[in-house]
Symmetry: C3
Subunit: 214 residues, 3 copies
């Protein structure tokens, strides 16, 4: 669908996609390192974190082949990142790596959410379902990462807005679609809103309200 | 398939479906509250508990669109239940809520099992597979709920008959199908047997035999 | 696809398939017994361990009906194995059972890996994806077993080569496919390499290198 777009738009899209995928994979590698998984575990968790959200969306929307089957070079990229990390990553890098990937992660979250919404709308799904597919695409890689690592998914309990940023961005994409915006405009709006909200909530230490069930 | 049935049959079916779905969602909300999940976690767990069994069945039977995509108002109902619960549910309500949902849960279990068996038989599956699809539809929402909440699924270890009630009801549905019963008759028989056995086993404190592996 | 093969080849294939399936199911039963799951949990975990890898592969490759739907007698075999185990298995049998199933498990791993690679190549998937599908078929039954039992999957953290043996065998199958070997020859090569490496790594106590992240 990008073939008629200007080159710099395509380049920008590719850069965010690459940054987001590497950030997602890296967060999987960090989780695996914390649990001292072996090389097999590291690759599987990195792979699931990077591609799990989109794969689950494709299963739910019954779309084949998967993104990583069509463009198998992305699997090699994740494999390479795993190898480099296992050789070079030390414990005192964990915290700084985690902070360094926050920004590409936020941009990737927005881009992947836009992709999910787009594909569901292209199948004439109701808008609420399309929004959910956007959130699933952006968020469920991390959910599956935590489930494989035997943890309750962080996104479900840390009260820091993450899925909600993707949720907001997804509605922006729906709005852009309804207003018949061009594809790059709608995607950009979704990425900006998602990543902007995410950055603000990290910097501002925003928290969702807690249960008051005592 | 309900269009030619009398109105009161349709109404009855809708009531059980609504009660069952709300009971399933509520059991997800309670599990999420016990783990102090945030609003995102509460909704995801409620959603997965309510619709996860039927969704897994549809993936296994390769059926699309999912029930909750065709009738998106059910998603809004679960969203609403989550919002109300997060505002009003206190810790001293947990036990009483859990007991209050046992009855609609048992009826829903029977109805969902009947649906699963029906759809598998309609695809000419072997009866054992159809029975398994009935059990998956009724039970795997709760299984996924427990897996997301990082627990061994309760149904697999508490020795209280739950999946087995759905299993028995599913065979009743198969019998009704074989005898060419009308749809409402077969569904009712399945619901009655499933819910009846479930109620009896709760009231009677029935337990499956334990391992004697010492 | 076996119909034109000599009888003894078919018999050999069937024996490995039966041994592998029983070994996988048995490892599920042992895991369930260690967690004291009830009869429902034992059957579900045994089923998932035996058929989960192939089922996940079929979902990823969008193939229906599943193997265990086409040949439902395998489900009865696993049901029977569960019943016998629950009646006869004592705690002091656990260790010896675990060692006894290592050999059929290794052969099954190779056979299931070959099946996964074959089906992906038959769909014109890239070879790396085909290899991954082979590994998924052989390994993800055990992964799902551990996830349901609320453990980090053993294959991802015990540093004993298991998935890697299937990985190596899968590449051998790809080689055989490229060289246009006959089906039994390619399958045998994959089984021999996978099971051989597995046996060697168990006997030799081979370990993958550990993280050096301190």
């Amino acid at each position: 669908m990008n073939t008629t777009l200007p080159h710099w738009v395509q380049l920008f899209h590719l850069l965010i996609e690459l940054g987001g995928t590497l950030a997602f994979a890296m967060s999987g590698i960090l989780a695996a390192a914390r649990k001292r998984l072996d090389a097999v575990g590291v690759f599987v968790v990195a792979f699931i974190t990077a591609f799990g959200g989109g794969t689950l969306r494709d299963i739910l929307l019954d779309q084949r082949p998967f993104f990583w089957v069509r463009q198998v070079e992305w699997v090699w990229v994740v494999l390479g990142l795993c190898a480099v990390s296992m050789l070079l990553l030390k414990k005192h890098h964990f915290a700084i790596t985690e902070r360094a990937i926050e920004w590409p992660d936020a941009l990737g979250l927005g881009l992947f959410a836009a992709t999910g919404v787009h594909q569901a709308l292209a199948q004439d799904m109701p808008v609420l379902i399309a929004v959910m597919m956007g959130v699933v695409t952006g968020v469920f890689g991390g959910v599956l990462r935590d489930m494989v690592c035997n943890e309750i998914p962080t996104t479900f309990k840390d009260r820091s807005p993450y899925a909600l940023c993707a949720f907001a961005g997804a509605w922006v994409y729906v709005l852009g679609w309804t207003l018949d915006l061009s594809l790059p405009a709608a995607v950009s709006a979704c990425v900006l809103v998602t990543a902007g909200l995410r950055v603000l909530s990290v910097l501002g230490g925003w928290k969702l309200p807690d249960w008051k069930h005592e």
